[in-house]
């Protein structure tokens, strides 16, 4: 595990033991055939051996394409799915197989914010009921105190507490996401898993939610596992960033190191594919266009899983699977036999507004 220890990022000292630790986590979904007698004919290897540590107070970003297993990984960490193999530790305790009351107690410490603020709120319940549901279920406060507590939460996330009795359809997308955040905060969790929390929102609203999450983090000392496919958003919110490809972490490092000097060709390709909202900078960047699509996780390629699409692949890549190893700055690890050396995105060009005609 020592490979993952990194220098503390500014303002966020990374102390001692991780809050969440995944140890060689594997999650396979069986594929069965037959109607009466189902037999297993294969498995979707959604998560296939992941080691990951999330330290208290940090935001760990997790990026990857659709189907790379990032949401499955989050659900495994939350104990919403049982692992096929491996271990999950929370605050130094093995939670891989906890059940019943113990699991219930664990849920208080880890909550989730979902992508779609339309689908994740019950349209037939008032938002007072929605935000108060965790309080009622876990009985952390007495019945009479639920309403004032919920209204306090609403104030905290920037909603008008007088809207307690309104229904989700009366709110805009951004406000709904605030409701989702308030619900996640109700039990005063220590870890919040944000699964694409802003991808369904309009650009001008995204910033409001991102700022809210940042404020809550410093106010309530929260730890985030932040999943998104938008690399600019992930860079903005994260302390460290990990890149996932086909069920495995291929690169992890402090965000500056990872974005400035990516080591894994896949990270390089992802970065080069991000449209940059700056015409000059966009023209300067190294363009790497990946061919084809992500292979099926049912039958992943041999050796390095990225080799069929990799522009640097050599014979060794199809035979020998590269392991995560330290590369570049301390705490920066990547799984590649032939790591990148060049930068993908150059620094900001100096633009003088006066110089334009």
């Amino acid at each position: 595990m020592s490979a993952v220890e990194t220098t503390p990022a500014a303002g966020m000292p990374r102390t001692g033991q991780p809050l969440l630790r995944l140890e060689n986590v594997v999650k396979h979904f069986p594929i069965t055939s037959g109607i009466v007698f189902q037999k297993k004919v294969g498995a979707v290897r959604a998560v296939d051996g992941v080691d990951l540590e999330v330290y208290p107070g940090e935001t760990l970003g997790l990026v990857g394409e659709t189907g790379c297993g990032k949401s499955t990984l989050a659900r495994v960490a939350m104990r919403l799915f049982d692992v096929t193999d491996g271990k999950v530790w929370f605050d130094g305790k093995d939670i891989t197989h906890v059940k019943g009351d113990e699991l219930q107690a664990l849920r208080r410490d880890m909550q989730m914010v979902f992508q779609d603020p339309y689908a994740s709120l019950n349209p037939r319940k008032t938002i007072g009921t929605i935000i108060g549901a965790p309080l009622r279920l876990h009985r952390t406060v007495s019945k009479q105190k639920v309403k004032p507590e919920v209204q306090e939460l609403m104030r905290l996330v920037g909603l008008n507490p007088e809207h307690y009795n309104r229904y989700p359809h009366e709110f805009s997308g951004g406000q709904r996401q605030r409701i989702g955040v308030a619900r996640a905060l109700a039990l005063k969790p220590r870890l919040i898993v944000c699964d694409e929390p802003v991808s369904a929102l309009d650009v001008s609203i995204q910033a409001q939610i991102l700022n809210l999450l940042a404020d809550l983090q410093s106010e309530l000392k929260l730890t985030y596992l932040f999943i998104a496919h938008d690399l600019s958003v992930v860079k903005h919110v994260s302390t460290r960033v990990s890149v996932m490809y086909l069920g495995k972490i291929v690169e992890l490092g402090d965000k500056e190191a990872l974005y400035d000097e990516p080591k894994h060709p896949y990270t390089g390709a992802l970065l080069s594919a991000v449209p940059i909202a700056d015409p000059h900078l966009a023209k300067q960047k190294n363009r790497i266009i990946l061919e084809g699509d992500v292979p099926s996780p049912i039958n992943p390629p041999s050796g390095c899983r990225f080799h069929p699409r990799c522009y640097k692949a050599q014979e060794r890549c199809s035979v020998e699977e590269p392991l995560l190893r330290p590369l570049g700055k301390p705490g920066h690890i990547a799984a590649c036999h032939f790591p990148l050396e060049a930068r993908i995105i150059e620094g900001v060009p100096e633009i003088e507004p006066e110089s334009t005609p």
């Binding site: 001008s204 700056d278 900001v348 334009t356």
Partner: protein
């Protein structure tokens, strides 16, 4: 200079509803030349999709009140009958949509769907149309196009479905391709493939492209001309350099300051306060005034015109040019 390919003059699209008149597009004017790429940026509800659906003649005249002119190669599309429109739709103006799964028919083979489009406009044998469909699939880089043409949409990945849509849209070599959020549902790597493909085919076919998106990154990389839309009208238009290095409208500033941008890292984003206005009860004066941090008295009374800043760069704002230049220099570019 040749006549513009598309000229929209004071287009208004209003939908009568039980709650009142929804002014989805309210006084839109612009021109698009052959071979040019126009980026249309705006949030949901800014009217960017409705205006181009109107250009395609896809807004039902029974459900909407359409005023103004849409001149395509000199002919007014708004005045055309459905039969006349059908001649143009597909053959001269083609459109691709955000969600390629819902735009392809799940029951028919992909090749047949492309061939159907060709057969609707050209009197050629079915077999030849099929061959042309395969050829189009090849041109959009679909591997083994002859086998793929025999498959159904569910057998394609998201990126391939969007390629198939592009193949269909370009199969009759249209003069104008309208791409409505073509990559929003796709991963970044696939997005780069698709946008690169549109870019390449555009120069091959000399097609004009209207790229509708909410992503400021996408327009920065691929568009010559950019329109920023807000509440049914254009609030700023200009070249990419104008919009990114010398924006002249507070809404554009707000957009640039509220997104995390690679290469321009900020500790904190500056969101635009409030939410977009209701299209039924538009605010008096400037539509952006309720959310604008630089608002003053006049903004609540008179709507500013889209006035030229220089060349083709124009913006709607009451602030004096000097003030705006100062704000851009000291606040907007300094913080982005």
């Amino acid at each position: 200079m040749p006549d513009p390919l598309l000229e929209v003059k004071d287009l208004k699209v209003h939908f009568p509803t039980e709650d009142g008149l929804v002014k989805a597009v309210d006084g839109l004017s612009f021109t698009l030349k052959a071979g040019e790429t126009l980026g249309v940026v705006g949030e949901s509800g800014s009217g960017k999709s409705v205006s181009f659906l109107t250009v395609m003649g896809l807004i039902g005249r029974k459900s909407a009140i359409i005023e103004g002119e849409v001149l395509f190669q000199g002919q007014d599309l708004v005045q055309m009958t459905n039969e006349e429109l059908r001649e143009i739709r597909g053959a001269k103006i083609a459109m691709i949509f955000q969600d390629p799964m819902t735009s392809l028919h799940p029951f028919y083979k992909v090749g047949d769907q492309i061939a159907e489009m060709i057969l609707a406009h050209e009197d050629i044998p079915k077999k030849e149309a099929g061959q042309r469909a395969v050829e189009m699939l090849r041109r959009v880089n679909i591997p083994q196009p002859d086998e793929r043409a025999e498959q159904y949409p569910h057998e394609f990945s998201g990126g391939m479905r969007q390629r198939a849509m592009i193949a269909m849209a370009l199969s009759l070599n249209p003069d104008l391709l309208i791409a409505d959020e073509p990559t929003t549902a796709l991963d970044v790597t696939v997005q780069a493939q698709i946008l690169g493909l549109i870019d390449r085919l555009q120069s091959e076919f000399n097609t004009a492209v209207a790229l509708i998106t909410h992503d400021l990154g996408v327009v920065a990389e691929y568009c010559d001309q950019i329109q920023v839309m807000y509440a049914g009208r254009i609030v700023e238009e200009g070249t990419a350099d104008d919009i990114y290095y010398r924006p002249m409208m507070p809404y554009t500033w707000g957009l640039l300051r509220s997104i995390p941008r690679l290469g321009h890292e900020l500790d904190r984003l500056t969101p635009i306060s409030g939410s977009p206005p209701s299209l039924i009860f538009l605010p008096d004066g400037c539509t952006f005034s309720p959310r604008c941090p630089y608002v003053f008295d006049e903004c609540h009374v008179v709507e500013p015109d889209l006035l030229p800043v220089d060349g083709h760069h124009a913006a709607r704002c009451h602030l004096s040019l000097e003030d705006r230049e100062r704000i851009v220099r000291d606040e907007v570019l300094a913080t982005t």
